[in-house]
């Protein structure tokens, strides 16, 4: 055995061990939840449950509040995504293709959403919403969710539109296509991957948002992450684990579906201009 390790060299071994530690660090909390969700009896200090069971799935799915929170979360996420597409995609197109006064100022103004610590910003918004009577309303919750997504929902599509070569648009114009036709059959399809990544990220971001909702939406707007807060406090570990899987499932499904488009380059264009 020893000769084998010597042959591959200590550097390689250390490198390998570090990578393993790294992977274990990120995977083990999630793996732990999966094991917990399917466990029946699991006493300390056993490494694995004595009994596997689905009892907690039944328990969780029968809770009224949980079913309601799933519906509410998806409703809010859909509203946020739709609203941000309607507002941000036209702006992104304008930033990429049209010269207009103060365009730089407008483009940079979106930085403001990420230039302040989040909880501070939420508290400031809550102070405003309190005065406007928007606390504990659907509109208030949707607006809070918009803060996180506004910047990358504008910037990722802006980068995507910029990457479409204008030569292609011009040649389409030359053969007689109308501006609208050019947009629909050349510009939009080529920028679509970026728009899809931004929209998926927006949807997931809204599904996942807990802090702002906790501040503005309590007591009536209990989305999945908010219910999770109370499950952690009040229910046995397995119930929380089952709910965690339910809450993570849409993330995994959407990510798998959009996998082709998600890359470090596209994603990071949402947080810095390059």
């Amino acid at each position: 055995m020893l000769w084998y390790f010597r042959a591959i060299g200590t550097r390689k071994i250390i490198e390998f061990l570090l990578l393993i530690v790294f992977i274990v660090f990120f995977v083990s909390p999630l793996l732990n939840l999966v094991v917990l969700a399917f466990s029946g009896k699991w006493t300390y200090p056993d490494l694995l449950p004595h009994q596997w069971s689905l009892q907690w799935w039944k328990f969780v799915l029968q809770e009224d509040e949980i079913a309601k929170s799933i519906g509410l979360s998806f409703l809010i996420a859909a509203l946020v995504t739709a609203l941000s597409i309607v507002l941000c995609i036209p702006a992104a197109y304008a930033f990429a293709r049209i010269r207009f006064p103060l365009s730089k100022v407008f483009l940079f103004s979106f930085l403001l959403t990420h230039a302040f610590p989040k909880m501070g910003l939420y508290v400031s918004i809550a102070v405003l919403f309190y005065k406007l009577g928007l606390m504990n309303t659907l509109l208030g919750v949707v607006l809070v969710h918009m803060i996180n997504v506004l910047m990358f929902m504008t910037w990722i599509p802006t980068a995507a539109f910029r990457n479409v070569h204008s030569a292609q648009e011009e040649s389409a114009r030359d053969v007689g296509a109308s501006p609208f036709r050019v947009f629909r059959s050349i510009t939009l399809p080529m920028a679509l991957p970026g728009i899809i990544v931004a929209s998926v990220f927006t949807f997931l971001n809204s599904l996942d948002e807990a802090q702002g909702t906790f501040l503005v939406g309590i007591p009536d707007y209990r989305t999945m992450p908010i219910v999770m807060y109370s499950i952690i406090a009040d229910f046995p570990g397995s119930a929380g684990a089952v709910f965690s899987i339910i809450l993570t499932a849409p993330t995994i499904i959407l990510l798998l579906a959009a996998q082709r488009f998600v890359s470090a380059d596209v994603m990071s264009s949402g947080f810095q201009l390059k």
């Binding site: 909390p29 909880m119 508290v123």
Partner: protein, 279 residues
């Protein structure tokens, strides 16, 4: 109307709606919270809310605690993420390929879920302690302690930071690195004279995101932090929600803005420079 005028109008019409939304949910709240934070109990205006931050003993220890956790988290996150990004850029092999494909997944995992997983893993009778028991080690207290918050911060921030950094490193052309090697530059020299200078701007952007992310965090410190001292995010929520002292909460919020203002200013300035250089 000339064509440029028309296009200019069109551009403005497309941009104004999203800008207005931005104005309502970011600019007005910040201005309002600043005004509110100056209002004292009697209804007049002074700095008493800020004075409270430094005179109240619990508040003062909250501030120090927040700064400590933030700085420690930032340093570890940046070192590990940079190492990871460099490693992914310059190494090859099956394991690296696997990491390259999967390292972004934690960015999309809901924060509450990851935190809950960590609680179950690192808790008193958690999975890790069961494994460590086999080799006779007792796990120190991690959950409901600052260690727990820091570990959660690492979990949340390393993938995102590594993503930003690796997109910057991908922009460094291989030809530049090879020509440096050809003229005899060693590994370290290549790193300090080429790789780091070409990516330090993104490095600072990443540092800004981590710093502000940790100072403004709520979920992790709320679920795994100690009862006292608290991170400012948790303390703000309590002052606002439980004690209903909106003016005091606004003052804490504005104080966190001040703590981040240098980095926030830098972030905006470097983005503006980058964009102006393009044109």
């Amino acid at each position: 109307m000339s064509k440029t005028m028309k296009m200019g109008m069109l551009g403005l019409i497309l941009v104004i709606p999203s800008f207005l939304l931005l104005f309502v949910i970011v600019v007005i709240p910040i201005a309002l919270s600043f005004v509110e934070s100056l209002r004292n109990d009697a209804g007049g205006f002074d700095l008493s809310r800020y004075q409270f931050l430094f005179t109240d003993k619990a508040m003062r220890s909250n501030i120090l605690f927040t700064l400590k956790v933030t700085i420690v988290s930032c340093v570890i996150v940046l070192i590990v993420s940079y190492a990871l990004a460099v490693y992914m850029r310059f190494s090859s092999g099956r394991l690296v390929e696997l990491i390259r494909k999967t390292y972004m997944i934690p960015i999309f995992i809901p924060g509450v879920i990851a935190t809950y997983g960590l609680i179950n893993l690192l808790g008193n009778h958690g999975w890790l302690s069961r494994f460590l028991l086999l080799i006779g080690i007792t796990l120190p207290r991690i959950i409901f302690d600052q260690k727990g918050i820091i570990i959660a911060n690492l979990w949340f921030n390393i993938p995102f930071t590594a993503m930003l950094l690796s997109s910057a490193l991908a922009g460094i052309p291989n030809s530049v690195l090879e020509s440096a090697k050809d003229v005899g530059a060693g590994r370290l020299r290549v790193f300090f004279q080429i790789v780091f200078p070409l990516s330090y701007k993104t490095f600072l952007v990443a540092a800004t995101f981590v710093f502000m992310g940790v100072i403004g965090s709520f979920t992790a410190p709320f679920l795994v932090g100690p009862n006292a001292p608290q991170m400012l995010g948790v303390s703000m929520e309590q002052v606002f929600g439980v004690f209903q002292e909106r003016e005091q909460a606004a003052a804490i919020a504005f104080f966190t803005f001040l703590l981040c203002s240098v980095l926030g200013y830098f972030y905006i300035r470097s983005m503006v420079k980058e964009e102006t250089a393009r044109l």
